[in-house]
């Protein structure tokens, strides 16, 4: 397969995301702007300007109408996907590290950093979808401070009223969205920072990646670890490949030690692991630095990776990917 290289950013990528249909790919980076691309040919549709700091995180709603972004300039912004206009700005005392839409697009959860005397906080906002989207409430529906280790990633699982979080200590937890109480937790899910959390299509299970060199699939309700993928480098991102029994892992050693190691040793490759057998089945080379973020097309026909090198590479899978049966005929239905 021939990857499409997207050079829209001048600094390292922080997150990339496909929309619901997979025709648009959003990317954000440390250079303050957000790009949106057509995934089929790599054409850039537009850019979103307004943030004055590293854009750490983005998410798009299911209708591809609103885009939400969180940045190091302490702002969370709501954008109109079609025109690139900023519709609303929320301001916080500290940087926004993660934002995610709920599955019904009505709510947004965001994590703000613990810094300068402020506690790390998880806030849930209601998104007013009526009108042009500029009428939003500044007040969160709910807000709480997770005690102990600070949260790094979050998501809405399929259970209503709960927030799923991954923490710096490696903990995975479920919080009550209203009261902020910790409902359930798995303290030993990982041994180091949880770097990414991506839900399956039905939100019943999810994959996490961590600096402890493992990626794990967990059950969303019980938080039990279902599968573990042990690699040899710290991982920055993990994604589930829909319709195929694979997971995609991306990582590489720390950006600070990149210049002292060779390209081959750095493991700057997207790794394909078999979901069931927990074995590596393939790798894709290309990036010149660690992979910071991986996203898979919702139909499972393509994947994109964003690296520390500032490139986004979009790969449309060949026929051979869909035909390959590395372990014989094993039917896995998603």
């Amino acid at each position: 397969m021939r990857p499409i290289l997207l050079q829209g950013h001048e600094r390292s990528l922080t997150q990339i995301k496909f929309n619901q249909e997979g025709d648009l790919l959003f990317s954000c980076s440390k250079d303050h702007i957000i790009n949106v691309w057509f995934s089929h040919n790599g054409e850039r549709l537009g850019t979103y300007h307004g943030h004055n700091g590293t854009v750490w995180t983005i998410d798009v709603d299911a209708q591809s109408r609103f885009l939400i972004s969180g940045s190091a300039d302490n702002e969370m912004r709501l954008w109109d996907v079609q025109t690139g206009k900023c519709l609303f700005v929320w301001e916080f005392p500290t940087a926004v590290k993660r934002v995610t839409f709920s599955d019904d697009d009505d709510q947004v959860v965001c994590i703000t950093e613990q810094r300068m005397g402020y506690q790390g906080a998880i806030r849930i906002f209601h998104i007013n979808r009526d009108g042009d989207g500029t009428q939003q409430s500044l007040e969160p529906v709910s807000m709480f401070h997770p005690i102990g280790s600070k949260a790094t990633v979050c998501a809405f699982p399929y259970m209503p009223g709960l927030i799923l979080t991954g923490h710096e200590s490696g903990k995975i937890a479920l919080f009550d969205a209203r009261s902020g109480e910790e409902v359930l937790s798995n303290e030993r899910a990982h041994l180091d920072v949880v770097t990414d959390l991506q839900l399956s299509a039905d939100r019943s299970y999810f994959i996490t990646s961590s600096k402890d060199k493992t990626a794990r699939i967990h059950d969303a309700k019980t938080l039990t670890v279902l599968k573990t993928f042990q690699t040899e480098t710290p991982l920055n991102s993990a994604a589930l490949a829909p319709n195929m029994p694979y997971v995609l892992l991306g990582g590489g050693q720390e950006a600070m030690s990149v210049t002292t190691t060779s390209l081959r040793q750095g493991k700057f490759e997207a790794r394909f692991w078999h979901r069931v057998f927990e074995e590596e089945v393939g790798r894709v080379k290309g990036h010149f630095g660690p992979l910071n973020t991986i996203a898979v097309h919702p139909a499972g026909t393509a994947y994109a990776s964003g690296g520390e090198d500032g490139f986004v590479r979009v790969h449309h899978f060949d026929e051979s990917y869909f035909k390959a049966r590395p372990y014989g005929e094993v039917e896995i239905l998603d």
Binding site: I4, L5, E21, W37
Partner: protein
């Protein structure tokens, strides 16, 4: 098309015009052929033929997706024509994804050192034998380097060594050196480890005492002074650590006269010097 043709000079103008037109037609199979002439970097005129076949691929997409394709560009892309811009979108080199079972981590996880060893053993250098202790490591890394190396060479009487060497040398030489290794005549019939230690033969003839159990600080001049009272000292060598320069507690003292050496040995054996009891033996 015509704009792409560079005119070299006014003289070429007329000539260039009739050729430079090129051709552009579409045949019955729907293949468009474009013939054009251009001048390349070397100044030569070249004919470029391009055959293009266009096929329309239809795919069903959702309404929302189709609608989004018609959206006007915005931000930095505002006003740009549809289609990927080369400045931001390029096609990379083909990469291959081969999905195979088996743990790739285990296969490719050779560290640099292991990889080196693997290539070495592949090249036939897998058998590393220490010349000192016959162990499975390089001679330079032998743990007995300091103790065994000196003792063996010294305590073997030269006569015995010579007679030994005569018999096994022809058989041993090809085995040790390998079939392709050339050994200069001056280096042949030498025991391992001896080749470099004594470049000149003359020193071997001098009567030499080995002095052990001397203190670390002992210098050549100290020993010269000490043994000078018995007669002329030809050479003093103090064994030192290569890196630190600290004495290793042994020295060789060569005399010019064998009788002097004998006397020195008898007198000095067991004597205290610098708080240690000296021990000495004759090096034959």
């Amino acid at each position: 098309m015509a704009a792409a043709i560079h005119k070299t000079s006014w003289a070429d103008d007329v000539e260039g015009l009739d050729q430079s037109k090129g051709e552009d037609y579409i045949d019955e199979n729907g293949i468009r052929t474009i013939v054009e002439y251009a001048i390349n970097d070397e100044g030569k005129k070249v004919k470029i033929i391009r055959r293009i076949k266009r096929t329309l691929q239809k795919s069903l997409v959702e309404h929302a997706v189709a609608e989004r394709k018609t959206w006007a560009k915005f931000g930095l892309e505002k006003g740009n024509k549809p289609g990927p811009d080369r400045a931001t979108t390029t096609v990379g080199e083909t990469v291959y994804l081969k999905l195979t079972p088996g743990n790739k981590a285990a296969e490719t996880e050779l560290s640099e050192q292991q990889a080196l060893k693997a290539t070495l053993s592949k090249a036939g250098a897998g058998k590393v034998v220490c010349r000192i202790c016959k162990g499975d490591h390089f001679t330079a890394k032998c743990p007995y380097k300091d103790s065994l190396a000196g003792l063996d060479n010294i305590e073997t009487p030269p006569l015995a060594a010579d007679s030994d060497a005569d018999a096994p040398a022809p058989a041993a030489a090809p085995a040790a050196g390998g079939p392709s290794k050339y050994v200069p005549p001056s280096m042949r019939n030498r025991g391992p480890g001896e080749s470099m230690s004594r470049p000149g033969g003359s020193r071997d003839d001098l009567p030499t005492l080995r002095v052990t159990n001397i203190s670390e600080d002992t210098q050549e001049n100290d020993l010269r002074e000490l043994f000078g009272s018995f007669g002329r000292v030809a050479r003093v060598y103090v064994g030192r650590d290569r890196d630190t320069g600290v004495g290793k507690g042994f020295a060789f003292v060569s005399f010019e006269d064998r009788a002097v050496a004998q006397r020195a040995m008898e007198k000095m054996h067991g004597r205290g010097y610098d708080s240690l009891i000296l021990k000495r033996t004759v090096v034959p």
